[in-house]
Protein backbone atom coordinates (compact mmCIF):
# COMPACT_ATOMS: atom_id res chain seq x y z
CA UNK A 1 0.00 0.00 0.00
CA UNK A 2 1.11 3.55 -0.66
CA UNK A 3 0.53 6.31 1.87
CA UNK A 4 0.79 9.92 0.77
CA UNK A 5 2.14 12.28 3.39
CA UNK A 6 1.68 15.92 4.23
CA UNK A 7 4.84 16.98 2.40
CA UNK A 8 3.77 15.37 -0.83
CA UNK A 9 5.96 12.35 -0.33
CA UNK A 10 4.81 8.78 -0.38
CA UNK A 11 5.63 5.69 1.61
CA UNK A 12 5.04 2.37 -0.04
CA UNK A 13 4.81 -0.52 2.38
CA UNK A 14 6.33 -2.96 2.68
CA UNK A 15 8.76 -2.07 -0.13
CA UNK A 16 10.09 1.10 1.51
CA UNK A 17 10.98 -0.73 4.70
CA UNK A 18 14.18 -1.89 3.03
CA UNK A 19 15.35 1.72 2.85
CA UNK A 20 15.90 1.87 6.63
CA UNK A 21 17.30 -0.48 9.23
CA UNK A 22 14.19 0.08 11.33
CA UNK A 23 10.94 1.90 10.62
CA UNK A 24 8.97 3.25 13.56
CA UNK A 25 5.29 3.59 12.66
CA UNK A 26 3.46 5.81 15.14
CA UNK A 27 -0.30 6.25 14.90
CA UNK A 28 -1.32 9.86 15.12
CA UNK A 29 -4.52 11.55 16.26
CA UNK A 30 -5.10 15.22 15.73
CA UNK A 31 -7.02 15.79 18.94
CA UNK A 32 -5.47 13.28 21.30
CA UNK A 33 -3.92 14.90 24.37
CA UNK A 34 -1.89 11.79 25.02
CA UNK A 35 -0.31 12.10 21.59
CA UNK A 36 0.23 15.83 22.03
CA UNK A 37 2.21 15.44 25.21
CA UNK A 38 4.36 12.77 23.60
CA UNK A 39 5.27 14.79 20.53
CA UNK A 40 8.43 16.23 22.05
CA UNK A 41 9.56 12.77 23.07
CA UNK A 42 8.91 11.45 19.58
CA UNK A 43 10.90 14.26 18.01
CA UNK A 44 13.74 13.58 20.40
CA UNK A 45 13.69 9.89 19.52
CA UNK A 46 13.66 10.69 15.81
CA UNK A 47 16.70 12.91 16.19
CA UNK A 48 18.53 10.44 18.42
CA UNK A 49 18.08 7.37 16.25
CA UNK A 50 18.11 8.77 12.70
CA UNK A 51 21.86 8.28 12.53
CA UNK A 52 21.34 4.62 13.39
CA UNK A 53 19.17 4.02 10.35
CA UNK A 54 15.87 4.44 12.16
CA UNK A 55 13.09 6.12 10.22
CA UNK A 56 9.96 7.48 11.89
CA UNK A 57 6.62 7.42 10.10
CA UNK A 58 3.64 9.17 11.61
CA UNK A 59 0.37 7.77 10.28
CA UNK A 60 -3.09 9.28 10.55
CA UNK A 61 -5.65 6.51 10.14
CA UNK A 62 -8.64 8.42 11.44
CA UNK A 63 -11.67 8.88 9.27
CA UNK A 64 -11.41 12.64 9.63
CA UNK A 65 -7.81 12.78 8.38
CA UNK A 66 -7.05 15.19 5.57
CA UNK A 67 -3.72 16.17 4.10
CA UNK A 68 -4.51 19.85 4.61
CA UNK A 69 -5.38 19.51 8.28
CA UNK A 70 -2.44 17.33 9.13
CA UNK A 71 -0.03 19.47 7.11
CA UNK A 72 -1.14 22.48 9.12
CA UNK A 73 -0.71 20.59 12.40
CA UNK A 74 2.71 19.27 11.41
CA UNK A 75 3.89 22.74 10.44
CA UNK A 76 2.56 24.36 13.60
CA UNK A 77 4.02 21.76 15.92
CA UNK A 78 7.23 20.88 14.10
CA UNK A 79 6.19 17.30 13.45
CA UNK A 80 7.59 15.10 10.73
CA UNK A 81 5.42 14.52 7.68
CA UNK A 82 2.21 12.71 8.54
CA UNK A 83 1.10 9.96 6.18
CA UNK A 84 -2.61 9.58 5.55
CA UNK A 85 -3.99 6.06 5.80
CA UNK A 86 -7.26 6.04 3.86
CA UNK A 87 -9.65 3.40 5.13
CA UNK A 88 -7.30 2.70 8.03
CA UNK A 89 -5.83 -0.20 6.10
CA UNK A 90 -2.42 0.10 7.71
CA UNK A 91 -3.95 0.54 11.16
CA UNK A 92 -5.99 -2.59 10.69
CA UNK A 93 -3.02 -4.51 9.33
CA UNK A 94 -0.94 -3.57 12.37
CA UNK A 95 -3.84 -3.89 14.85
CA UNK A 96 -3.63 -0.25 15.82
CA UNK A 97 -6.62 0.89 17.88
CA UNK A 98 -5.14 3.79 19.82
CA UNK A 99 -3.14 6.90 19.09
CA UNK A 100 0.52 6.68 20.18
CA UNK A 101 0.41 2.97 19.30
CA UNK A 102 3.78 2.27 17.81
CA UNK A 103 5.12 -0.57 15.69
CA UNK A 104 8.80 -1.04 14.96
CA UNK A 105 9.39 -2.91 11.72
CA UNK A 106 12.74 -4.12 10.48
CA UNK A 107 13.92 -3.95 6.90
CA UNK A 108 12.32 -7.32 6.17
CA UNK A 109 8.94 -6.21 7.46
CA UNK A 110 9.06 -8.12 10.69
CA UNK A 111 7.40 -6.57 13.74
CA UNK A 112 10.11 -6.13 16.37
CA UNK A 113 8.19 -4.02 18.87
CA UNK A 114 4.58 -2.94 19.27
CA UNK A 115 2.71 -0.86 21.82
CA UNK A 116 3.11 2.39 23.67
CA UNK A 117 5.85 4.98 23.37
CA UNK A 118 6.28 4.82 27.14
CA UNK A 119 4.24 4.24 30.27
CA UNK A 120 2.94 7.81 30.54
CA UNK A 121 -0.55 8.86 29.57
CA UNK A 122 -1.40 12.55 29.70
CA UNK A 123 1.22 13.71 32.16
CA UNK A 124 4.88 13.05 31.58
CA UNK A 125 6.98 11.76 34.42
CA UNK A 126 10.71 11.41 34.75
CA UNK A 127 10.42 7.81 35.94
CA UNK A 128 8.46 6.59 32.94
CA UNK A 129 9.14 3.20 31.43
CA UNK A 130 10.69 4.09 28.08
CA UNK A 131 9.37 1.14 26.06
CA UNK A 132 10.13 2.48 22.60
CA UNK A 133 13.54 3.93 23.44
CA UNK A 134 14.57 0.68 25.12
CA UNK A 135 13.39 -1.34 22.15
CA UNK A 136 15.31 0.87 19.74
CA UNK A 137 18.42 0.68 21.89
CA UNK A 138 18.24 -3.10 21.86
CA UNK A 139 17.45 -3.43 18.18
CA UNK A 140 20.14 -1.00 17.10
CA UNK A 141 22.58 -2.99 19.22
CA UNK A 142 21.49 -6.19 17.53
CA UNK A 143 19.58 -7.57 20.51
CA UNK A 144 15.98 -8.63 20.89
CA UNK A 145 13.94 -5.95 22.63
CA UNK A 146 13.82 -6.48 26.37
CA UNK A 147 10.11 -5.66 26.19
CA UNK A 148 8.54 -6.58 22.87
CA UNK A 149 5.12 -5.14 23.67
CA UNK A 150 4.20 -2.17 25.85
CA UNK A 151 0.77 -0.85 26.69
CA UNK A 152 -0.43 2.01 24.49
CA UNK A 153 -2.36 4.61 26.46
CA UNK A 154 -3.61 6.99 23.79
CA UNK A 155 -7.02 7.86 22.44
CA UNK A 156 -9.16 5.42 20.56
CA UNK A 157 -8.56 5.90 16.86
CA UNK A 158 -11.74 6.87 15.06
CA UNK A 159 -11.10 4.64 12.08
CA UNK A 160 -14.64 4.38 10.71
Amino acid sequence: MTLVDTKGGAATLPDDLARAKLTVVVFYSEHCPCFRVHEARLLELERAYAAHGVRMLLVDSEVSATTERDARAAAERGLPAIAIDPGAKLADALAADYATYTVVLDARGRVRYRGGIDSDKDRLRDDTKTYLRDALDDLVAGREPRIAEGKALGCALQKR
Partner: protein, 308 residues
Protein backbone atom coordinates in the same frame (compact mmCIF):
# COMPACT_ATOMS: atom_id res chain seq x y z
CA UNK B 1 -33.45 7.03 47.23
CA UNK B 2 -32.63 3.38 46.85
CA UNK B 3 -29.19 1.85 46.92
CA UNK B 4 -29.66 0.93 43.30
CA UNK B 5 -30.26 4.48 42.23
CA UNK B 6 -27.45 5.82 44.35
CA UNK B 7 -25.11 3.27 42.88
CA UNK B 8 -26.30 4.18 39.44
CA UNK B 9 -25.55 7.82 39.92
CA UNK B 10 -22.28 7.26 41.64
CA UNK B 11 -21.16 5.20 38.73
CA UNK B 12 -22.85 6.85 35.82
CA UNK B 13 -21.71 10.28 36.74
CA UNK B 14 -18.25 9.23 37.57
CA UNK B 15 -18.18 7.34 34.34
CA UNK B 16 -19.28 10.24 32.29
CA UNK B 17 -17.03 12.81 33.77
CA UNK B 18 -14.04 10.55 33.82
CA UNK B 19 -14.62 9.54 30.27
CA UNK B 20 -14.88 13.15 29.33
CA UNK B 21 -12.02 14.24 31.46
CA UNK B 22 -9.73 12.13 29.42
CA UNK B 23 -10.61 14.01 26.27
CA UNK B 24 -8.71 17.22 26.01
CA UNK B 25 -9.98 18.85 22.91
CA UNK B 26 -12.08 16.65 20.77
CA UNK B 27 -11.37 13.09 21.48
CA UNK B 28 -10.65 10.78 24.30
CA UNK B 29 -7.18 10.02 25.34
CA UNK B 30 -8.89 7.07 26.90
CA UNK B 31 -12.05 6.86 24.92
CA UNK B 32 -14.89 4.73 26.02
CA UNK B 33 -14.20 3.85 29.58
CA UNK B 34 -16.45 3.54 32.46
CA UNK B 35 -19.37 1.63 33.64
CA UNK B 36 -22.67 1.87 35.32
CA UNK B 37 -20.91 0.26 38.12
CA UNK B 38 -19.91 2.00 41.26
CA UNK B 39 -16.50 2.61 39.82
CA UNK B 40 -15.92 2.85 36.14
CA UNK B 41 -12.60 2.08 34.56
CA UNK B 42 -11.39 4.25 31.72
CA UNK B 43 -10.37 2.27 28.71
CA UNK B 44 -6.72 1.87 29.67
CA UNK B 45 -7.30 1.44 33.37
CA UNK B 46 -6.89 -2.02 34.82
CA UNK B 47 -8.19 -1.39 38.33
CA UNK B 48 -9.27 1.33 40.67
CA UNK B 49 -10.18 1.92 44.27
CA UNK B 50 -12.19 4.81 45.55
CA UNK B 51 -13.90 6.35 48.50
CA UNK B 52 -17.07 8.31 47.99
CA UNK B 53 -18.81 10.45 50.58
CA UNK B 54 -22.27 11.87 50.24
CA UNK B 55 -24.31 14.11 52.49
CA UNK B 56 -27.88 15.05 51.69
CA UNK B 57 -30.60 17.11 53.32
CA UNK B 58 -34.27 16.29 52.86
CA UNK B 59 -36.04 19.57 52.28
CA UNK B 60 -39.40 18.10 51.44
CA UNK B 61 -41.21 15.08 50.15
CA UNK B 62 -43.62 13.81 47.54
CA UNK B 63 -46.63 11.86 48.75
CA UNK B 64 -48.35 8.98 47.02
CA UNK B 65 -50.33 11.41 44.91
CA UNK B 66 -47.26 13.27 43.75
CA UNK B 67 -47.96 16.32 45.88
CA UNK B 68 -44.88 18.06 47.14
CA UNK B 69 -44.71 19.45 50.65
CA UNK B 70 -42.12 20.73 53.04
CA UNK B 71 -41.51 18.89 56.31
CA UNK B 72 -43.76 19.72 59.22
CA UNK B 73 -42.24 21.87 61.95
CA UNK B 74 -39.89 19.88 64.15
CA UNK B 75 -39.15 17.29 61.45
CA UNK B 76 -35.98 16.99 59.44
CA UNK B 77 -33.71 14.41 57.85
CA UNK B 78 -30.10 14.27 56.77
CA UNK B 79 -28.63 11.28 54.99
CA UNK B 80 -24.96 10.35 54.87
CA UNK B 81 -23.14 7.66 53.01
CA UNK B 82 -19.56 6.53 52.60
CA UNK B 83 -18.87 4.07 49.82
CA UNK B 84 -15.78 1.98 49.34
CA UNK B 85 -15.45 1.33 45.63
CA UNK B 86 -13.34 -1.14 43.73
CA UNK B 87 -13.21 -2.09 40.06
CA UNK B 88 -11.15 -4.56 38.10
CA UNK B 89 -10.77 -5.21 34.39
CA UNK B 90 -11.02 -8.86 33.48
CA UNK B 91 -7.59 -10.21 32.56
CA UNK B 92 -8.53 -11.95 29.30
CA UNK B 93 -11.76 -10.25 28.31
CA UNK B 94 -10.50 -6.69 28.57
CA UNK B 95 -13.81 -5.21 27.46
CA UNK B 96 -15.37 -6.54 30.65
CA UNK B 97 -14.98 -5.06 34.08
CA UNK B 98 -16.27 -5.93 37.52
CA UNK B 99 -17.01 -3.53 40.33
CA UNK B 100 -18.05 -3.65 43.94
CA UNK B 101 -19.50 -0.96 46.19
CA UNK B 102 -19.59 -1.36 49.95
CA UNK B 103 -21.64 1.39 51.60
CA UNK B 104 -21.92 2.69 55.09
CA UNK B 105 -25.21 4.51 55.54
CA UNK B 106 -26.24 6.90 58.29
CA UNK B 107 -29.38 8.89 58.88
CA UNK B 108 -30.12 11.74 61.22
CA UNK B 109 -33.83 12.18 61.63
CA UNK B 110 -35.91 14.50 63.78
CA UNK B 111 -39.62 14.13 64.40
CA UNK B 112 -41.69 16.23 66.74
CA UNK B 113 -38.50 17.70 68.07
CA UNK B 114 -36.91 14.36 68.94
CA UNK B 115 -33.64 13.77 67.14
CA UNK B 116 -32.02 10.45 66.38
CA UNK B 117 -28.94 9.23 64.55
CA UNK B 118 -28.27 5.72 63.33
CA UNK B 119 -26.71 3.73 60.58
CA UNK B 120 -24.53 0.85 59.58
CA UNK B 121 -23.53 -1.28 56.66
CA UNK B 122 -25.78 -0.80 53.67
CA UNK B 123 -26.60 -3.10 50.78
CA UNK B 124 -23.47 -4.18 48.96
CA UNK B 125 -23.60 -3.92 45.20
CA UNK B 126 -21.59 -5.92 42.68
CA UNK B 127 -21.82 -5.17 39.01
CA UNK B 128 -20.27 -5.82 35.65
CA UNK B 129 -20.01 -3.96 32.38
CA UNK B 130 -19.11 -5.17 28.93
CA UNK B 131 -18.26 -2.61 26.25
CA UNK B 132 -19.22 -3.84 22.82
CA UNK B 133 -18.02 -0.58 21.30
CA UNK B 134 -16.16 2.30 22.84
CA UNK B 135 -17.26 5.88 22.28
CA UNK B 136 -15.06 7.59 19.74
CA UNK B 137 -14.15 4.54 17.72
CA UNK B 138 -16.78 5.27 15.10
CA UNK B 139 -17.92 8.59 13.76
CA UNK B 140 -21.60 7.68 13.76
CA UNK B 141 -21.94 4.54 15.85
CA UNK B 142 -21.92 5.29 19.58
CA UNK B 143 -20.23 3.32 22.26
CA UNK B 144 -22.52 0.59 23.52
CA UNK B 145 -22.21 -1.38 26.72
CA UNK B 146 -24.24 -3.97 28.58
CA UNK B 147 -24.62 -3.68 32.32
CA UNK B 148 -25.62 -6.16 34.96
CA UNK B 149 -25.58 -5.94 38.72
CA UNK B 150 -26.67 -7.55 41.92
CA UNK B 151 -27.42 -5.79 45.19
CA UNK B 152 -27.16 -7.96 48.26
CA UNK B 153 -29.36 -7.47 51.32
CA UNK B 154 -26.43 -6.83 53.64
CA UNK B 155 -28.00 -3.76 55.18
CA UNK B 156 -30.58 -3.56 57.92
CA UNK B 157 -34.10 -3.67 56.47
CA UNK B 158 -36.74 -1.31 57.85
CA UNK B 159 -38.52 -4.02 59.87
CA UNK B 160 -35.29 -4.88 61.65
CA UNK B 161 -34.50 -1.33 62.63
CA UNK B 162 -34.47 -0.86 66.38
CA UNK B 163 -34.24 2.90 66.61
CA UNK B 164 -37.54 4.64 67.18
CA UNK B 165 -37.25 6.67 63.99
CA UNK B 166 -35.69 3.79 62.03
CA UNK B 167 -32.48 5.68 61.47
CA UNK B 168 -30.60 2.38 61.59
CA UNK B 169 -32.45 1.02 58.55
CA UNK B 170 -29.78 0.83 55.87
CA UNK B 171 -31.12 -1.55 53.24
CA UNK B 172 -34.17 -2.84 51.41
CA UNK B 173 -33.92 -6.35 52.78
CA UNK B 174 -34.09 -8.11 49.43
CA UNK B 175 -31.82 -9.21 46.65
CA UNK B 176 -32.00 -6.95 43.66
CA UNK B 177 -30.84 -7.77 40.16
CA UNK B 178 -30.44 -5.13 37.52
CA UNK B 179 -29.61 -5.05 33.86
CA UNK B 180 -29.23 -2.24 31.43
CA UNK B 181 -27.60 -0.66 28.48
CA UNK B 182 -25.33 2.35 28.18
CA UNK B 183 -24.89 4.38 25.03
CA UNK B 184 -22.38 7.20 24.69
CA UNK B 185 -20.94 9.29 21.93
CA UNK B 186 -18.44 12.07 21.47
CA UNK B 187 -19.31 15.36 19.83
CA UNK B 188 -16.11 17.34 19.84
CA UNK B 189 -15.34 18.13 23.45
CA UNK B 190 -18.78 16.98 24.51
CA UNK B 191 -19.64 13.51 25.63
CA UNK B 192 -23.30 12.50 25.76
CA UNK B 193 -24.17 9.42 27.75
CA UNK B 194 -27.52 7.70 28.19
CA UNK B 195 -28.33 4.83 30.46
CA UNK B 196 -31.40 2.67 30.72
CA UNK B 197 -31.59 0.20 33.57
CA UNK B 198 -34.23 -2.10 34.95
CA UNK B 199 -34.05 -3.58 38.43
CA UNK B 200 -36.05 -6.49 39.73
CA UNK B 201 -36.35 -7.18 43.44
CA UNK B 202 -36.73 -10.62 44.93
CA UNK B 203 -39.62 -11.46 47.20
CA UNK B 204 -39.02 -11.78 50.88
CA UNK B 205 -41.07 -12.83 53.87
CA UNK B 206 -41.50 -10.52 56.82
CA UNK B 207 -43.42 -11.79 59.82
CA UNK B 208 -45.07 -14.46 57.67
CA UNK B 209 -46.09 -12.08 54.93
CA UNK B 210 -44.56 -12.25 51.48
CA UNK B 211 -43.64 -8.86 50.09
CA UNK B 212 -42.09 -7.79 46.83
CA UNK B 213 -40.98 -4.32 45.93
CA UNK B 214 -42.00 -3.15 42.49
CA UNK B 215 -39.79 -3.35 39.46
CA UNK B 216 -37.66 -0.26 39.12
CA UNK B 217 -36.45 1.42 35.95
CA UNK B 218 -34.11 4.32 35.56
CA UNK B 219 -33.27 6.50 32.59
CA UNK B 220 -30.31 8.82 32.84
CA UNK B 221 -28.89 11.37 30.45
CA UNK B 222 -25.56 13.01 31.16
CA UNK B 223 -23.67 15.61 29.19
CA UNK B 224 -20.06 16.29 29.98
CA UNK B 225 -17.57 18.80 28.66
CA UNK B 226 -13.84 18.40 28.78
CA UNK B 227 -11.44 21.12 29.77
CA UNK B 228 -7.68 21.30 29.37
CA UNK B 229 -5.52 19.05 31.52
CA UNK B 230 -8.28 16.50 32.02
CA UNK B 231 -10.58 18.68 34.06
CA UNK B 232 -14.22 18.17 33.20
CA UNK B 233 -17.69 19.27 34.15
CA UNK B 234 -20.94 17.44 33.65
CA UNK B 235 -24.66 17.85 34.10
CA UNK B 236 -27.15 15.07 34.36
CA UNK B 237 -30.80 14.31 34.77
CA UNK B 238 -32.44 11.06 35.60
CA UNK B 239 -35.83 9.67 36.28
CA UNK B 240 -36.51 6.55 38.27
CA UNK B 241 -39.85 4.82 38.39
CA UNK B 242 -40.88 1.96 40.59
CA UNK B 243 -43.95 -0.20 40.25
CA UNK B 244 -46.44 -1.07 42.91
CA UNK B 245 -45.28 -3.32 45.70
CA UNK B 246 -46.98 -6.65 46.26
CA UNK B 247 -48.07 -8.20 49.54
CA UNK B 248 -48.90 -11.88 49.38
CA UNK B 249 -49.30 -11.55 45.62
CA UNK B 250 -51.67 -8.58 45.80
CA UNK B 251 -50.78 -5.11 44.60
CA UNK B 252 -50.48 -2.64 47.43
CA UNK B 253 -52.11 0.52 46.13
CA UNK B 254 -50.27 3.78 46.54
CA UNK B 255 -46.80 2.28 46.84
CA UNK B 256 -45.38 3.09 43.43
CA UNK B 257 -42.55 5.61 43.40
CA UNK B 258 -41.08 8.21 41.09
CA UNK B 259 -37.73 9.91 41.62
CA UNK B 260 -36.50 12.80 39.49
CA UNK B 261 -32.91 13.85 39.98
CA UNK B 262 -30.70 16.52 38.46
CA UNK B 263 -27.16 17.51 39.22
CA UNK B 264 -23.85 18.92 38.21
CA UNK B 265 -20.48 17.43 38.86
CA UNK B 266 -16.86 17.72 37.93
CA UNK B 267 -13.51 15.99 38.02
CA UNK B 268 -10.19 17.35 39.22
CA UNK B 269 -7.28 15.13 38.24
CA UNK B 270 -4.24 15.35 40.45
CA UNK B 271 -2.29 12.91 38.29
CA UNK B 272 -2.91 10.28 35.63
CA UNK B 273 -3.71 7.93 38.49
CA UNK B 274 -5.45 10.01 41.14
CA UNK B 275 -8.51 12.16 40.76
CA UNK B 276 -11.22 13.82 42.77
CA UNK B 277 -14.80 13.90 41.58
CA UNK B 278 -17.63 15.74 43.17
CA UNK B 279 -20.81 17.63 42.69
CA UNK B 280 -24.28 18.57 43.77
CA UNK B 281 -27.48 16.74 43.03
CA UNK B 282 -31.06 17.07 44.10
CA UNK B 283 -34.66 16.14 43.52
CA UNK B 284 -36.47 19.11 41.96
CA UNK B 285 -39.56 19.92 44.04
CA UNK B 286 -41.92 19.93 41.10
CA UNK B 287 -45.35 18.48 41.92
CA UNK B 288 -46.19 15.17 40.26
CA UNK B 289 -42.61 14.53 39.16
CA UNK B 290 -41.87 12.65 42.35
CA UNK B 291 -43.94 10.15 44.24
CA UNK B 292 -43.50 8.51 47.64
CA UNK B 293 -40.05 9.96 47.87
CA UNK B 294 -38.25 12.53 49.98
CA UNK B 295 -36.83 15.47 48.08
CA UNK B 296 -33.18 15.97 48.91
CA UNK B 297 -30.24 18.04 47.91
CA UNK B 298 -26.84 16.53 48.39
CA UNK B 299 -23.12 16.88 47.96
CA UNK B 300 -20.90 14.03 46.82
CA UNK B 301 -17.12 13.88 46.87
CA UNK B 302 -15.17 10.91 45.56
CA UNK B 303 -11.47 10.17 45.53
CA UNK B 304 -10.29 7.59 43.01
CA UNK B 305 -6.92 5.96 42.45
CA UNK B 306 -6.57 3.99 39.24
CA UNK B 307 -3.93 1.68 37.83
CA UNK B 308 -3.26 1.23 34.13
Amino acid sequence: MSRFVLALFASALAATIVATATRASAQACCAGSGAVTPGRLAVHEDALVGLSMRAAHAFGSFDSGGHYSTPPPGSSEQDFEQDAIGALRMPVVDRAQLAVLVPLVETRRTARGNGEFGGGLGDVNVSARYDFLYAGQHRYVPGIAALVGLTLPTGTPPESATNALATDATGIGAFQGNAGIAVEQLFGSWLVTAYGIVAKRASRTVQGISTTLGTQWTALLAVAYSLPDDYAIAAFASYTGEGTAEVDGTDLAGTSRRVPLVGVTGVVPLSDHFRFQGGFSGNPPIPNLGKNQPATIGLTLTAVYAWY
